[in-house]
Amino acid sequence: MKELNLQQTMDMLMEVCRAVIQSKQLLTEVDSSIGDGDHGIGMAGGMEKAKAALAEGAPFADINTLFKTTGMAMINTMGGASGIIFGSMFLGGLKGLEPITVLDGNTFTRMMRGALSAIKARGKAEMGDKTMVDALEPAVLAMEKLPDADWVTLMRAAADAAKTGVENTKLFVAKFGKAQYLGERAIGFQDAGATSVFIIFNAMYEFVRSH
């Protein structure tokens, strides 16, 4: 499969919402070790709202609006830093993108590169800061190495790279959030935001694999 049509893209985003909502407990536990413990509630709440907004907004004219609806729902329900950051994961790649009704891997890769740039500009985080960037950036790099790949190959690479990125966050001290005050004591624990990035890419992979 090289292209997703509008309905398939919508179904994939719905699958992402479901996967994150189901991971609420896991994310809460991961975040409780070194953070505020509210990441699971926040992400699940944002994705519940996104899912409802997608269902309510259908039919959509283009794929751009699907991503915009998802991102804005997250920003406007979650609040806090993670609302902006994860909302930007869906919104950040839309800048300058002509309205599209078919999504190919190359376009999606470019969108995720745009999202990564927007997130880094807004949150000022770099690789190694123990944030979601540690999972998102390797996923984008992995996708960029696979131009013209089919969706399954592309998303498997993205999910694998994100998973490795999550593992790597265990090695870092945190530069942001509550965990920054723990210094070396944060080492050994994975970052909750990076974990969410993996869950999102993995849900996309599972979706394209089974369709």
């Binding site: 413990g37 509210d38 406007n76 979650m78 609040g79 806090g80 830093a81 807004r122 942001f176 509550k178």
Partner: protein, 334 residues
């Protein structure tokens, strides 16, 4: 944790419903959102919008009113309000003279208010912001712009709102708010954790006989954990930190805020000031005003903070004006 709530998901909306219904003579909700405005606000002036995560009451809801902020945008528990809510709140009180956002310096608040300002620019609303970073235990002086905002918010809001009411233009209100912010420091001490309504887990763990100096409102680790001590020793340690940080010298005129973090009683807070006053007198400080109450809390967190504002003639003029909200009222000081 026993909490007088219904569904943990609805605590902010239900709290605001109670507050705004009870005090409907003063306040009006912005649509059905978690934001509200002060009905009798002075017109044709710079508008002051405050906001941040909920759960710290009376901050922020209790600092909207006469001589105080014009509106507040309330986020979820301990989470910043979102950009759209902030923008709608600003729009509701904009008089065409500019809107000043005052909020505590936290990553989430900084990002959401920044994005709100971008949205306001699209609506031709002129905006500015002053981030409050009074907690001197949260980062060294060289990185003060990464420090957290805590009870010092009270003074910045009070002074900036008075300057706006006096008819100063936006850039001048910003200058005065920044001057207040740069002359305020706070240090806190935690004796027990708070909790997020709806969650069983406390925001941090602290031994039954332990206290932590400098611990943040959300359980951010502080500068030293020790065994519990008598009030005199606790205050001694905290005053030393403030004195060093603020270079306090004899003759300096100051205002002092003793703030309870949630479950610490007024009896205890007044004992804190009983001790603090001895130091202030011994060092020859000119104490212009003192307030002892709960201003900025973290649910049932135990402990207190001490805030000092160094006054000059200009700040004093704005500090001294009368203000009123159901949770924060003062007569004009002579």
């Amino acid at each position: 944790m026993k909490k007088i709530i219904n569904d943990g998901q609805n605590v902010v909306a239900e709290m605001l419903s109670g507050y705004l219904t009870a005090y409907s003579r003063y306040y009006e909700r912005v649509g059905d959102s978690n934001a509200f405005t002060y009905k009798n606000r002075r017109k044709h002036k710079v508008s002051i919008v405050i906001g941040g995560g909920s759960g710290h009451e009376p901050l922020f809801i209790g600092f909207v009113g006469k001589g105080l902020a014009d509106a507040a945008a309330c986020g979820n528990i301990f989470a910043s309000p979102n950009p759209e809510l902030i923008m709608n709140t600003a729009q509701a009180v904009d008089e065409g003279c500019g809107v000043l956002f005052l909020y505590g310096c936290y990553a989430g608040d900084n990002m959401n208010f920044d994005m709100a300002e971008e949205l306001c620019a699209l609506e031709d609303i002129q905006t500015a912001h002053v981030r409050i970073w009074d907690d001197c235990a949260s980062a060294p002086k060289e990185r003060k712009e990464t420090r957290r905002g805590i009870a010092g918010d009270v003074y910045v809001i009070k002074v900036a709102a008075a300057a706006a009411d006096a008819g100063y233009p936006l850039d001048e209100v910003v200058r005065i708010a920044e001057k207040a912010r740069d002359n305020i420091n706070t240090i806190g001490l935690a004796t027990s954790p708070g909790s997020i309504p709806g969650l069983d887990k406390p925001t941090f763990e602290l031994g039954a006989d332990e206290i932590e100096f400098g611990m943040g409102l959300h359980g951010e680790p502080g500068i030293e954990r020790t065994k519990m001590q008598p009030a005199a020793q606790l205050v001694n340690r905290m005053y030393d930190e403030l004195k060093k940080e603020m270079l306090l010298q004899a003759g300096q005129q100051i205002a002092v805020l003793v703030n309870g973090l949630g479950s610490t009683t007024l009896l205890e807070l007044n004992i804190v000031y009983h001790e603090l006053a001895k130091h202030l007198t011994a060092d020859g400080l000119d104490v212009h005003d003192v307030e002892i109450n709960q201003f900025c809390t973290c649910q049932e967190m135990g402990g207190f903070s001490i805030t000092i504002l160094k006054l000059d003639e200009e700040l004093k003029r704005f500090y001294d004006t009368a203000c009123y909200s159901p949770y924060y009222a003062r007569e004009a000081l002579a």
